[in-house]
């Protein structure tokens, strides 16, 4: 399950009920109904799609990164991974994955984390947390900063070594790679297509992603 195994989808693009391209540096917020499938397509390769979820029957229960990895006893996400809320409720399951491994320990970049990690002068650079905040600031659901908990970084490679080191490596994704997940609950999806220019998470070249949705079969 965790050996970078490719697992292709049977869904056809022409059957999708939603098909949009999201540029790097933009946010996206969209509801999924139970049974709907979301595909995130890495158009040009090595892009990072920072993604989080909320249970719309209880929006106070956000995606739980650590709950998700502890319940599968593995830090990487791939086909078969059940994406859970903080309280442990299953929201979605990854049903297809061409990259074979996605990160959920690295969180999202922010003005503050850029300033800490690279230089204080980098605080003005655009970042994922700003995209998240702009999206929830514009929506009418009432999400606040306190609802922004650690997220998933689809297509991002953050290896952890047995001796407890963590590093950011070149992406393991490639042009046309995708990951698909099917919602089992009414779920809000919040994505920031990462604008990071300071580390190799998106090969120093942020590029667009394409988002497709299929209805329940």
């Amino acid at each position: 399950m965790y050996g970078l195994i490719k697992n292709k989808s049977n869904l056809k693009v022409e059957d999708a009920i939603y098909d949009e391209t999201v540029s790097a540096g933009d946010g996206w917020m969209h509801e999924l109904l139970p049974g709907e499938t979301l595909r995130i397509l890495d158009l040009e390769g090595n892009q990072a799609a920072d993604t989080t979820f909320y249970d719309m029957t209880n929006p106070e229960d956000h995606y739980g990164a650590v709950t998700t990895i502890v319940m599968q006893k593995n830090i990487y996400l791939t086909t078969g991974s059940v994406l859970r809320t903080e309280s442990g409720k299953p929201l979605l399951e990854i049903t297809a994955d061409i990259t074979g491994r996605h990160d959920t320990l690295g969180g999202a970049c922010s003005s503050q984390s850029n300033a800490v990690r690279y230089a204080r002068e980098k605080i003005d650079m655009h970042n994922c947390r700003d995209s998240f905040m702009l999206q929830i600031g514009k929506d009418t659901y009432g999400f606040k900063k306190r609802d922004l908990a650690p997220n998933i970084n689809f297509f991002m490679n953050v290896p952890v070594t047995k001796d407890g080191k963590l590093k950011f490596d070149d992406g393991v994704s490639a042009p046309g790679n995708y990951v698909e997940m099917r919602a089992s609950e009414h779920t809000m999806v919040l994505i920031s297509n990462c604008p990071q220019l300071n580390n190799p998470c998106n090969a120093y070249n942020p590029t667009p992603i394409r988002l497709l949705i299929w209805d329940a079969k």
Partner: protein
């Protein structure tokens, strides 16, 4: 050194309270395989809280020990780790839920077991969050003092048995005024079938002022910048 406050957390016990900056908080395991789950928030603005990803990626680590700092989502240092007899504390294995606790150790109820019932980290945290005017929305990945969880090459998570010995200590130094929430509940990945029952003592002392030679400040340039952000915050408040 003047001891300000002392408490022993019984197995299953929780605690929360405000602790001002510039205090040492020393935790001591009074038995083997202790685990204290811990959350930290900025007392003045609890939307600023301990951030596991920012803490780990800024320090290029997947575990916590002496020299490391616990960073907030606003790029500041909530607390530093100034002493550690173990070399490894966890922050990737979360807290036990009620469901996990019942499945692993058998269901207990207050009605049958009174105060010996088996508490969960989830419920302990939730009660203390609500006590501090927060709730489920504010639940985030915690620190697990005394536990070692390492990751194999394929990503699988392994709890190391016997890592924490009786008498093991770890000392934090608060760098901000914080809300601290503690839960003395088992590590999620501890394979032991019996509910671990290890008391942990907590002692608070006044700490000397931090200077530029400090090990946590100089651990990495990232740490230094996070300290600068923290000092700026208090300078701007006039504190």
């Amino acid at each position: 050194m003047e001891k300000i406050w002392r408490k022993t957390l019984k197995p299953g016990e929780k605690w929360s309270g405000n602790i001002g900056r510039g205090k040492y908080i020393q935790f001591k395991a009074l038995g083997e395989e202790a685990n204290v789950s811990m959350l930290l928030y900025n007392m003045r603005d609890t939307s600023e809280r301990y951030n596991m990803p920012d803490t780990l990626k800024a320090q290029y680590t997947a575990h916590l020990t002496k020299g490391n700092v616990l960073m907030s989502d606003n790029g500041r240092v909530l607390a530093s780790i100034v002493e550690d007899s173990l070399g490894w504390h966890d922050t990737i294995s979360g807290y036990t839920t009620r469901m996990m606790t019942d499945e692993k150790y058998g269901k207990t109820t207050y009605q049958e077991s009174r105060n010996d019932w088996q508490r969960s980290g989830e419920e302990n945290f939730l009660m203390e969050l609500v006590r501090n005017d927060m709730g489920m929305r504010d639940m985030v990945p915690c620190v697990n003092l005394f536990s070692k969880v390492y990751v194999e090459e394929d990503g699988s998570m392994c709890y190391e048995r016997g890592h924490c010995k009786e008498g093991a200590t770890v000392t934090l130094r608060t760098e901000m005024d914080i809300v601290l929430i503690l839960s003395n509940t088992p590590n999620t990945l501890n394979p032991l079938e019996k509910y671990p029952a290890v008391p942990v003592s907590v002692e608070v002392f006044n700490a000397p002022a931090v200077d530029l030679m400090d090990e946590c400040v100089n651990h990495r340039p990232e740490n230094h910048r996070a300290f600068e952000n923290t000092w700026d915050y208090y300078h701007l408040l006039g504190l």
